[in-house]
Amino acid sequence: MQRIGVFVCHCGTNIAATVDVAQVAETLGKEPGVVLATDYPYMCSQSGQDMIENAIREQKLTGVVICSCSPRMHEATFRKTVARAGLNPYLLEIANVREQCSWVHKDREEATQKAIILGRAAIAKVTLNAPLVAGESPVVKRALVIGGGIAGIQTALDIADAGFEVDIVEKEATIGGKMAQLDKTFPTLDCAACILTPKMVDAAQHEKINILSYSEVEAVGGFVGSFRVKIRRKARYVDETKCTGCGLCTEKCPQKAVPNPFNLGLDTRRAIAIPFAQAVPKVAYIDPNYCTMLKTGKCGVCSKVCTVGAIDYKQQDTLEEREYGAIVAATGYRPISLEKYGEYAYGQSPDVVTSLELERLMNAAGPTGGTLLRPSDRTHPKTIVFVQCVGSRCEEDGRGKPYCSKICCMYTAKHAMLIREKYPDTEVYVFYIDVRTPGKNFDEFYRRAVEEYGVHYITGQVGKIVPENGKLLVQGSDLLAGMQPKIAADLVVLAAAIEPDPSARSLATLLTASMDTNDFFTEAHPKLRPVESPTAGVFLSGACQGPKDIPETVAQAGAAAAKVIGLLSRDHIVCNPCVATPNEQMCNGCSSCEKVCPYGAITYADKEFRMPDRTTALRRVAQVNPAVCQGCGACTVACPSGAMDLLGFSNKQIMAEVDAICR
């Protein structure tokens, strides 16, 4: 005989203001099997939980229904409460009468009636709940970090320092990411390379860190604690173990017209190259799109000059499969393509550049050796216009992003300040919508740019940029002055919005991690679990989760590492007990379930069965590995006989809910 207790939470006035909680308790108290129904201001409070615990003990409850906030909020809390009272934690059901009732309905009568129906459905379900015991599965004590920018490097270092092995998979030939391309960093104006490259070296030399550069994740199987990841090691045509990084080949290669990706195509390099001087690993690689040898079979210069015989034109991609306990996504960002912004003449005039390109133009290791020269005629620009929010905060025109890219205001202030510092004869104008400077020492930094360095900040947008007689005619609007200034600039810098790296989309699919509408990874909880993905064992580091600057990235990288360390320091993790389970008596052994299982959790066994006529027969029946099953339920519908059922969401339970709702 069922003895169900119903607890209706007021949630202060969150529920009680719209739902007549007393009536809900009274009505549900009359449902068959219910022996206790009561309401209380805060069920999740200590005294609320005590009340539930006492009721379970005193009334010998066999099931508990709590009408409260979403189970996504407090199901775990109340399961612990129930367990403390000695009841199986899965003999609990939550009726969501806050998010899905009191907060979305205004009419008190309607909301109360609906709360009663939701309560009935929960009672109908809990009546059929079975005690479930969670299994355990082992944890592989190695982490995978996908992306070798500052986020990935920092995460890897922190995990490795805690004593766990880490692999960094980086799709480029070197780690370092976007930060390696930056000149100086705000608000301290220290050199990016000076603070990044030591970290790259630390990572390379760390005994627990293994860098897989020029590699990509191809497939992800398994689950938290034991992911199986297939990694494609792309052919670099250079034996990584032999190459000493001497650079001789990169000087002798006759193919000189290769746009240099590190300098964003602002200069050229050879077909065989080391991305930049401090690359890690410092190993050359051949770009097969430009290499004459790979394309025509004629050349072979690099092979001839290489003293260690590292060149291997026959190298092929290889696939490695490795196991990890945790995975960190640190895929970073990139500036958006400005193709659609014809009015800014990007692409029409070489003197319209993005901020990232400006970083290279100002960098000592850049195409101009650190002297600011405009790309068209390599002359010194006297008038520079910065255009803010190119593609940020404007979704309406179908070209941009709805969000603020967050870093542009600060790096523009940095650029303006550096230019005025180095070239005081240069006039700098900044067209902006707002200047956003929330951060330690940020506003001070911006004010210095305006007040000390005399940067002209103009509130307004730029309508058009027209190349004319070697100048760029910038037509903007000054909203404060109510004027339409026209500036003849030598160089225009566009603060292009940033977006997630495009590789993140396919990676999210592989990881079964969810993304928001902008392709940033979503967090398990935006406030309380900001560095975890909703997929267990997958963590988020850096700008793949949202726009952020370096200190924030490093902080989040450390946080993600802490979560990974927490996971890897356990020997076992508790599995979700709501897994598929076959009724062998009913199973036909037809293999339908196996074909739809995304985890390979289903296998088949020939088993002897006692038949109705008292003979025995050998039958092929499905077996589910509960540690591998994640409980999606795809198999339960593929199964025609209904032999495959899902614990916690069984056919009978769901139909009982349907009946209760439709009754």
Binding site: K30, P612, R614, R663
Partner: protein, 338 residues
């Protein structure tokens, strides 16, 4: 003896329907079935209906009671019994015999009041046969298909429908109809020809071997295995059979309580009489044997030797694998001399 021209049958049906609700065999999308008469419904050309006339007295589904819960109380509501008269026209001799067989089950104490009410409120007009099909074997049960009884007997000749009252109920009914007088002699030749055809029916069954004394011998007969081998375990034979009378009582959970109903069941089903300990007849062979042992041995043992088969031939036509009582009877009965 009364009569009406064949062309005036619609008029007759309308008049019958005036006295009470009329049911008659009519074609519904190519399938003959007992149908509630209304303007435009005509008598089928087919010899017999797919579902038998049993349905009108023992419907496939019937509510027995309703339980309504309110608060903590349960209110029990008995289901209504048939309380209005109705007429069944066109019952063939075989189906008429089936009523006798069902009566011995449902009207024995304790009486089935649902069935009883329907029987009492019904007037039955039988229809004599003159063009039987090869699947007919009513003669094996000494049924005279050319002269069935019932409240009224109808004979459909080339030109007219002749009607003869057999009971007081029948007399009263005929009195209300627009009929002219006819004579027994008018159907004599018709009947003679019909009987000649019936005598020539290809299935001639000798059922003398099916006796109570041989019950265990028949029960343990090795032929049950090959006979039942192909049986699919469906309920087609049962549901078209005019004498099968098994039902299951089930509860259906409604919005505010429970509806208790009974529905036909079949001993051929794997879940027939399922109990906590399982199915008492675990294999199809045992279920198959049950059906035919009941028809040919158990029922006659309890009912003065009356077989619970009427030779209508429906199962011969409808069994998906063409296994039937004739094949069973010939296989098992054939060895009685051996």
């Amino acid at each position: 003896m009364k009569k009406i021209e064949k062309a005036r049958l619609p008029e007759l049906f309308a008049a019958l329907n005036e006295t009470a609700a009329l049911y008659l065999p009519a074609d519904r999308d190519g399938v003959a079935a007992f149908t509630r008469w209304q303007e435009g419904v005509t008598l089928t050309e087919k010899l017999n209906t797919v579902r038998s006339a049993k349905d009108l007295f023992f419907p496939q589904v019937e509510t027995l009671a309703n339980f309504k819960t309110q608060g903590g109380t349960i209110e029990i509501e008995d289901a209504a019994r048939q309380d209005e008269d109705f007429i069944v026209f066109g019952v063939r001799a075989c189906d008429l015999r089936s009523f006798e067989i069902l009566d011995r089950v449902f009207l024995a104490e304790p009486q089935d009041t649902f069935y009883k009410a329907r029987r009492e409120h019904a007037a039955i007009i039988t229809l004599a046969c003159n063009a039987p099909e090869e699947t007919c074997f009513c003669t094996a049960f000494s049924i005279d298909a050319a002269d069935p009884q019932g409240d009224v007997t109808a004979f459909l000749t080339d030109t007219a429908l002749c009607l003869r009252a057999n009971t007081e109920k029948g007399e009263n009914l005929l009195a209300k109809l627009p009929l002219s007088d006819g004579a027994e002699s008018e159907i004599a030749a018709w009947q003679k020809q019909a009987r000649e055809t019936l005598e020539k029916l290809p299935i001639q069954l000798d059922l003398s071997g099916f006796t109570g004394e041989r019950m265990m011998e028949l029960f343990n007969h090795p032929a049950w295995q090959p006979l039942s081998e192909a049986c699919l375990g469906c309920g087609t034979c049962t549901f078209v059979c005019p004498t099968c009378q098994c039902y299951d009582v089930k509860d259906f959970k409604t919005k505010d309580g429970v509806q208790r109903f009974r529905c036909w069941d079949s001993c051929m089903y794997s879940d027939f009489t399922m109990m906590s300990a399982g199915q008492p007849r675990p294999t199809q062979k045992e279920r198959f044997r049950q059906r035919f042992m009941h028809k040919l041995v158990y029922y006659p043992m309890n009912n003065e030797g009356i077989f619970s088969c009427v030779g209508c031939g429906r199962c011969l036509q409808k069994c998906p694998i063409h296994m039937n009582i004739v094949k069973v009877a010939k296989t098992l009965g054939g060895e009685r001399d051996a």
